[in-house]
């Protein structure tokens, strides 16, 4: 009994020390001890083990106030590598990165109109294989492949259950990739990937409870509660787009009626704008596309709103209010400190974001969520693949820096499994 306990404690200590080493570029041993509350000899033992495994270097000596100068420890970013993958309706993005998420190399491919799940996955496997074999120096030390994809994902089994964005249903991504690669492979929803990336690097770094919103053609969401990504019982939490906001609303493909997606998603905004043109209503939206409804896209609505057009502003106002209805529910239920937004709408339409903030304030309870802060993800540096890779990194840290299985390209794998349900 005692033995088991000790190993659990040992592991927790290791994880703790490793995280501190990872978060601080250079650090003294004594400082680790101070930060963790562990004894110096314990830290010494753990650090020695990491050093043996090549995870930590001694980078130089500090200044001594008498006696032996303390040794400066440095995390070795190039000890291992990770492959992060992001798949969305526009493109696949594959990045080989080191442990500090510095990009070693990348492959980005636009998805084409002809692409199906079949051709995209084939291309994905080809590109990953190409990327690995072009980097013989890193090849033997890749911890895993993390894949992010928008939709309902069974993260445990690695199955994409449904994605409106891609129009895919029951695609066993993990099984498919396992035909080509050995090693750790994680599949998760891209909004969750975004959330964990925000938690590690981004604006959610020191925030315990936050909500992530992906406002694009569809609506994605993910919750971090008490510092952990929230999955729910079947791993399908985060379906904010399918929260009903209209009792008498239309039937949704999800089975419910009057879902948020029908009122506040990019698709819904576009649809409303298209109707304006089709009905030949007097609006800058109609003018900007010169009366051609086929030319309407989200950006036309943004452009008209920028120009002060009342119809466009009304469409956005309505959408933002519906969004606020659903989000205020989440706020009441989970009491987050922060809401971090990503996606085309949040990046390209400040007008919408202002409206959303106002609406949320209006719909906020008097007693709950008064302080919740709405921010836009730091878009300049963000790439979806970092989020996907974060799952691999997190697992690596959680395992106390153990890395026994690496990614390997499998030999001849001509036979294909039936991975599309």
């Amino acid at each position: 009994m005692e033995k088991v306990d000790r190993s659990v404690v040992n592991m927790a200590n290791k994880v703790n020390v490793l995280r501190i080493l990872w978060e601080n570029k250079c650090i003294f041993r004594a400082e680790i001890a101070r930060m963790t509350g562990l004894s110096q000899p314990t830290v010494l033992k753990i650090v020695d083990e990491f050093m043996e495994r090549g995870l930590v270097n001694i980078s130089g000596k500090g200044i001594s106030s008498g006696g032996k100068p303390p040794l400066m420890l440095e995390f070795r970013w190039d000890a291992y590598y990770i492959i992060g993958v992001d798949i969305n309706e526009y493109r696949i993005e594959i990045i080989l990165m080191d442990l500090s998420f510095d990009i070693i190399d990348k492959r980005i491919q636009d998805n084409r109109e002809v692409d199906t799940a079949d051709t995209i996955l084939k291309r994905l496997a080809d590109e990953i294989r190409g990327l690995i074999s072009e980097h013989p120096g890193e090849e033997s030390r890749i911890l895993g492949i993390g894949v992010g994809i928008p939709g309902i994902v069974d993260a445990q089994k690695g199955i994409l259950i449904y994605s409106t964005e891609l129009g895919w249903k029951n695609v066993n991504l993990k099984e498919y990739l396992k035909q080509y690669f050995d090693g750790q492979i994680t599949i998760d929803d891209s909004t969750r990937a975004f959330a964990i990336e925000e938690k590690i690097f981004g604006k959610g770094k020191d925030v315990k409870n936050f909500l992530c919103l992906n406002l694009a053609s569809g609506i994605g969401s993910a919750l971090v509660m008490d510092g952990n990504l929230y999955y729910g019982s079947s791993g399908s939490s985060g379906q904010l787009g399918h929260v009903a906001v209209e009792r008498e609303g239309p039937l949704c493909s999800c089975g419910n009626y009057g879902c948020l997606e029908h009122y506040a998603s990019g698709r819904a905004i576009e649809e409303a704008a298209r109707r304006v043109v089709e009905e030949h209503r007097e609006s800058q939206i109609t003018d900007l596309v010169y009366g051609d409804a086929g030319k309407v896209d989200l950006n036309i609505v943004f452009e008209a709103a920028m120009g002060g057009d009342s119809t466009a502003l009304e469409i956005l106002e309505k959408a933002s209010d519906y969004l606020a209805m659903a989000v205020s529910g989440v706020v009441n239920l989970t009491d987050p400190e922060m809401i971090i937004c990503e996606g085309k709408i949040s990046r390209e339409c400040p007008i919408f974001m202002e409206m959303f903030k106002r609406a949320l304030r209006r719909r906020g309870m008097k007693y709950v969520g008064r302080e919740v802060e709405i921010v836009i993800s730091n878009t300049k540096s963000y790439m979806g693949s970092f989020g996907s890779a974060s799952f691999i990194l997190e697992q690596f840290i959680q395992s106390g820096g153990e890395a026994e299985r690496f990614v390997r390209i499998r030999g001849n794998s001509n036979q294909r499994l039936d991975y599309v349900g």
Partner: protein, 560 residues
């Protein structure tokens, strides 16, 4: 004293310019220009059919003459201080070449055949071919090869090649490959014109031949073959991956060093299309739009590829990798008429002057001529001054599509127009309305970028109009709510090419560094005046609305 010069060459539509530039500060130490001899005699052209061809000898003769002229001005021994040469040309200006890469018109049997010469950018003989190309390229097995450039224009590479091959069996048989003007010059100067291995520039390749890394190069052989097997044949001999403008193509050949009067160590840099070089010369960088204003405009921006992924910009601009600054996607939009609108207005008002004044017996011929000349020269300046004093915002809305509309949402069939004429509308008001139309056309381009998430902080203008018309510049600043900087350069394109040479020859690491040292600054900055924002917003809404109605009228007409 040791000096380091680079030469920038700008092959324009009528003439070629050369500038000799001090590499340390970008100052021009010598410059010259030279017209194309045969071209000025209107040889090989048929304006009634929109056929415009240029003889390769026109280029070479004028090139040698003006480089020598510029060097003479740069002082004694200037040729020995030259370290590099960079080039820009018009485009798409392709030419059929034989297996050695020699333009067919340089072979005796083709010397007088216009189909064997360079097809100048404004040659519109390939309208039918462009239609065919659009039909296939827009959806070939599900791939849209037009998604980065939009509708394929009859002015561009594949359309002209197809046209040439269809109308001239002999040219088709002899033409092993085709080259862009801007690729041929560096290739020639370095002595490698073999079509299979010669230098090709990213700028023309991307914007005109549709080269893109997402396609793995040019449109697929299958696709080209579907249009016409000859296009696939041409593509087979376009094997080299395009290179950036700062690429060191090679060292100048002994023969060319001698002909130009420069030393034999000169590095030949890469090239680009002229407007793109102009953008570089004027100081393009992320979030800064360079607007070259002449008869029409070219509006250019650069952006990192990562940030453009998933953005659909094909209605707003053409995009090509590395076409302006290496490492960035170059974006190019344009207005089909700008300066041309003013010229139209002047010509309109000149009718009685040119006609009646010519016929009058009241004054003698010499005075007549002088008077006509004076009126022609002074009219625009004078009316601009008058327009400057009329501040009232009028009921009049003018639409600037006198030459069709390019961006956003290209439509070459729409026409210009006016709404809101009253019995009180006078020439000054009409002129102001026309300027406003040009300015709103510019705003639509900017708004279309900004609403697609492309940040634009300021605008640099290049050309004669920005220097001459403070009225238009202030209107632009107010309507677009952004500062407008007027470049000091008179030869922005040649300055840009000189920067290519400076980087290729190793003086600077990249164009950004070259720009920092070789930028000659701005002659004026127009700051937006907030008090005018509301007025221009209102007038702009009206412009959009009237434009939409005109477009609908045109659509009905097109529909029959």
């Amino acid at each position: 004293m040791k000096k380091d010069y680079v030469i920038g060459i700008d092959f324009g539509s009528d003439s070629v310019r050369a500038v000799v530039v001090d590499v340390t500060n970008g100052a021009t130490v010598g410059s010259d220009f030279c017209e194309y001899e045969r071209w000025m005699k209107k040889m090989y052209c048929d304006p009634s059919r929109n056929m415009f061809r240029q003889h390769p000898l026109d280029y070479l003769e004028a090139f040698v003459k003006c480089v020598r002229g510029a060097l003479r001005e740069a002082g004694e021994d200037a040729g020995s201080f030259v370290r590099g040469i960079g080039v820009d040309t018009t485009g798409s200006t392709p030419c059929p070449v034989d297996k050695d890469g020699t333009p067919l018109a340089l072979l005796p049997e083709f010397a007088e055949n216009p189909n064997a010469m360079f097809y100048l950018w404004k040659d519109h003989t390939a309208i039918e071919e462009a239609r065919e190309i659009n039909a296939v390229f827009s959806n070939f097995g599900g791939e849209d090869y037009l998604r980065f450039q939009g509708t394929y224009a009859s002015e561009w590479w594949w359309a002209k090649i197809l046209h040439g091959s269809r109308v001239d069996e002999q040219v088709k048989e002899r033409a092993y490959a085709w080259v862009e003007h801007c690729d041929w010059i560096p290739a020639l100067l370095t002595g490698n014109t073999d079509p299979n291995t010669m230098y090709r520039c990213s700028c023309a390749a991307g914007h005109k031949a549709l080269w893109h890394s997402d396609f793995g190069g040019l449109p697929s052989m299958k696709c080209l073959n579907e249009v016409d097997p000859y296009l696939a044949y041409v593509a087979k001999h376009y094997t080299k991956t395009p290179q950036v403008s700062t690429h060191k193509v090679g060292v100048i050949t002994k023969e060319w060093a001698e002909r130009l009067g420069i030393n034999e160590q000169v590095i030949v840099g890469g090239s680009s299309l002229d407007a793109h070089a102009g953008a570089v010369g004027a100081g393009v960088k992320p979030n800064v739009l360079v607007k070259v204003i002449g008869t029409s405009t070219v509006d250019m921006l650069v952006h990192k590829r990562e940030n453009l992924r998933g953005r659909d910009l094909h209605d707003s601009c053409g995009q090509a990798e590395n076409s302006i600054l290496p490492g960035y996607v170059g974006m190019e939009a344009s207005q089909a008429a700008f300066g041309d609108l003013c010229t139209w207005f002047r010509n309109l008002l000149m009718w009685p002057v040119g006609t009646l004044l010519n016929e009058t017996k009241l004054i003698e011929d010499k005075t007549k001529k002088a008077l006509i000349k004076e009126i022609r020269e002074q009219m625009l300046d004078r009316i601009t001054r008058a327009a400057l004093d009329t501040e009232e915002d009028s009921e009049l809305t003018v639409i600037d599509w006198f030459n069709g509309r390019r961006y956003p949402m290209i439509n070459e069939t729409v026409k210009g127009g006016m709404y809101g004429l009253t019995l009180g509308t006078d020439a000054v008001e009409l002129f102001r309305g026309i300027l406003q139309a040009a300015v709103f056309g510019s705003r639509r381009i900017i708004d279309s970028f900004v609403s697609r998430g492309i940040q634009i902080d300021e605008i640099i203008t290049v050309g004669g109009i920005p220097k001459k018309s403070p009225l238009i510049m202030q209107m632009l600043a107010d309507a677009m709510k952004r500062p407008i900087k007027v470049s000091n350069l008179t030869q922005a394109c040649a300055q840009g090419s000189a920067m290519y040479a400076a980087v290729a020859a190793g003086f600077y690491q990249d164009l950004e560094e070259a720009q920092a040292h070789m930028n000659v600054g701005f002659m004026k900055i127009y700051m937006p005046e907030e008090k005018n924002f509301e007025k221009y917003d209102r007038l702009y809404c009206r412009y959009l609305k009237v434009g939409r109605h005109f477009e609908e009228i045109q659509a009905a007409r097109n529909g029959g």
